[in-house]
């Protein structure tokens, strides 16, 4: 018996006639932290968005956390967090209001919002509108959302983009925390993650899964 958290079976996604992800077969075991690497346009973001159910596959099928990718989307969404290129916040709302809104959408106690902001170093600007935040602060806010939700599967798409050294440390801490708690992580990045934080590397080239390699730990 296997316990694959992600099981993709020949997933293809086509945009305007052009395949962004082609026939991808990928299995990720529970508790694994996998680095999805590849250059610009290799299909990393599309792959993560397919796993998060933000996109539907054009062909193929799969399962995430045991739930069917096509038929049980809400079950998957309740247990997965995607940190994508865009922070998905409202500029007119404060940092705290943004996280409280997330709490209400996910049925989480709103009292978890402020501690989550403290964990990413934004508690002192909790009452400041997100529109005045720098790119790095917005990324921290998105990390705060991820920490607050404590999902079973974390999908990080270029999490180091726009982050200073301190904030990169938050990502490293998040990965270490995920490993400690047995959470599964797919980390898409064109630059190598901090040494010792990932278990396995898979490479995408022009939407195809080219090679897979284990990291010595």
């Amino acid at each position: 018996m296997t316990d694959n958290v992600v099981e993709l079976r020949g997933i293809t996604r086509v945009f305007d006639g052009l395949p962004a992800v082609r026939q991808v077969r990928l299995s990720v075991r529970a508790g694994e932290i996998v680095w999805v690497c590849g250059g610009n346009g290799s299909g990393k973001s599309t792959l993560l968005r397919l796993v998060a159910t933000a996109l539907s596959p054009t062909f193929g099928d799969g399962a995430v956390l045991g739930f069917a990718l096509l038929r049980e989307r809400e079950e998957i969404r309740a247990r997965v967090e995607l940190l994508g290129h865009q922070p998905r916040f409202y500029g007119q709302l404060t940092a705290l209001e943004n996280l409280r809104f997330v709490c209400r959408m996910y049925g989480i106690d709103v009292r978890h919002a402020l501690p989550a902001l403290a964990r990413v170093g934004l508690d002192e600007v909790a009452g400041v509108r997100a529109s005045s935040f720098s790119q790095g602060m917005r990324q921290r806010l998105a990390l705060g959302r991820c920490l607050m939700r404590d999902p079973d599967l974390i999908l990080l798409d270029e999490p180091y983009a726009g982050l200073d050294v301190d904030a990169r440390g938050i990502v490293t801490d998040l990965l270490a925390d995920a490993e400690r708690r047995g959470r599964t992580v797919l980390l898409a990045s064109h630059e190598p993650p901090t040494e010792g934080t990932v278990h396995r590397r898979v490479q995408l080239e022009s939407g195809r899964l080219e090679c897979v390699g284990e990291f010595a730990r």
Partner: protein
């Protein structure tokens, strides 16, 4: 379901997220939209001057004939409200487009119909403020009496605002999905005609101090509101999903 799936489902127990009820989600979305509008004043700040300008233009075009002005005032009130509301629906989705917030709504494990209801509540509140302000302008500029049956007139404004918003909140989504802004008036204006006609006829009767036939028009408004809301609740998820 395989044994493997069953094991993983046991490992991943049902989260509290799935207990976020339709009404709670709808209220959260509505409160968020209204908070954003109160702070930015993007929608009403832009559409109220548009409605005022339109009424003034019609006033000058129709001339000083008070009887003619009063006869056309209910129609102008709702036409000004309708055109301004279409712009308002587009703007209400702009905040969802920024920073990819719409994807956040999509990925929330809730019935997407609840998101639709929340956006409709917020839009209806704004449209109600818009048509109420427009009604005051019409009363001042065209001499339309509004105080002969104030409760029934208020009910007409509420039902009309819900009717416009229920369609606008559904098709306003198209302005951020694929940026099909031109589709909004093409889809909304013909479909919303029964609501506008019902609202004009009810307002016209009430302004004349007559309640004859008003109940029928209010019934028409309520029926279309219910049909639009039910349709929106059911199809919103299909529109917002990839």
């Amino acid at each position: 379901m395989t044994l493997q799936d069953a094991t993983l489902r046991t490992l991943a127990p049902r989260r509290p997220a799935l207990r976020a009820t339709t009404l709670r989600v709808a209220w959260a979305v509505a409160e968020k939209d209204l908070r954003i509008e109160i702070r930015s004043r993007q929608a009403l700040g832009a559409v109220l001057p548009f409605a005022a300008t339109m009424l003034l233009a019609f006033g000058f075009a129709l001339g000083p004939n008070r009887t003619l002005l009063q006869a056309t005032a209910p129609g102008l009130l709702w036409l000004a409200g309708l055109f301004a509301a279409v712009d308002l629906f587009h703007r209400s989705y702009q905040s969802e487009a920024e920073s990819g917030a719409l994807e956040g709504l999509l990925l929330a494990p809730v019935h997407k119909g609840a998101v639709y209801l929340g956006k409709t509540i917020a839009a209806a509140t704004q449209v109600l403020v818009l048509v109420a302000a427009t009604a005051l302008m019409v009363a001042v500029l065209f001499g339309l009496p509004l105080t002969r049956a104030p409760l029934l007139l208020a009910l007409t404004l509420v039902l009309g605002a819900i009717g416009l918003s229920s369609l606008g909140s559904l098709f306003g989504l198209l302005t951020v999905i694929g940026a099909r802004q031109a589709a909004l008036p093409i889809l909304v204006l013909p479909l919303v005609s029964p609501v506008v006609i019902g609202a004009i006829r009810a307002t016209s009767s009430l302004a004349q101090g007559s309640t004859e036939g008003v109940a029928g028009w209010l019934g028409v408004l309520a029926a279309f509101d219910a049909a639009f809301l039910a349709t929106g609740y059911l199809v919103y998820g299909h529109l917002v999903e990839d």
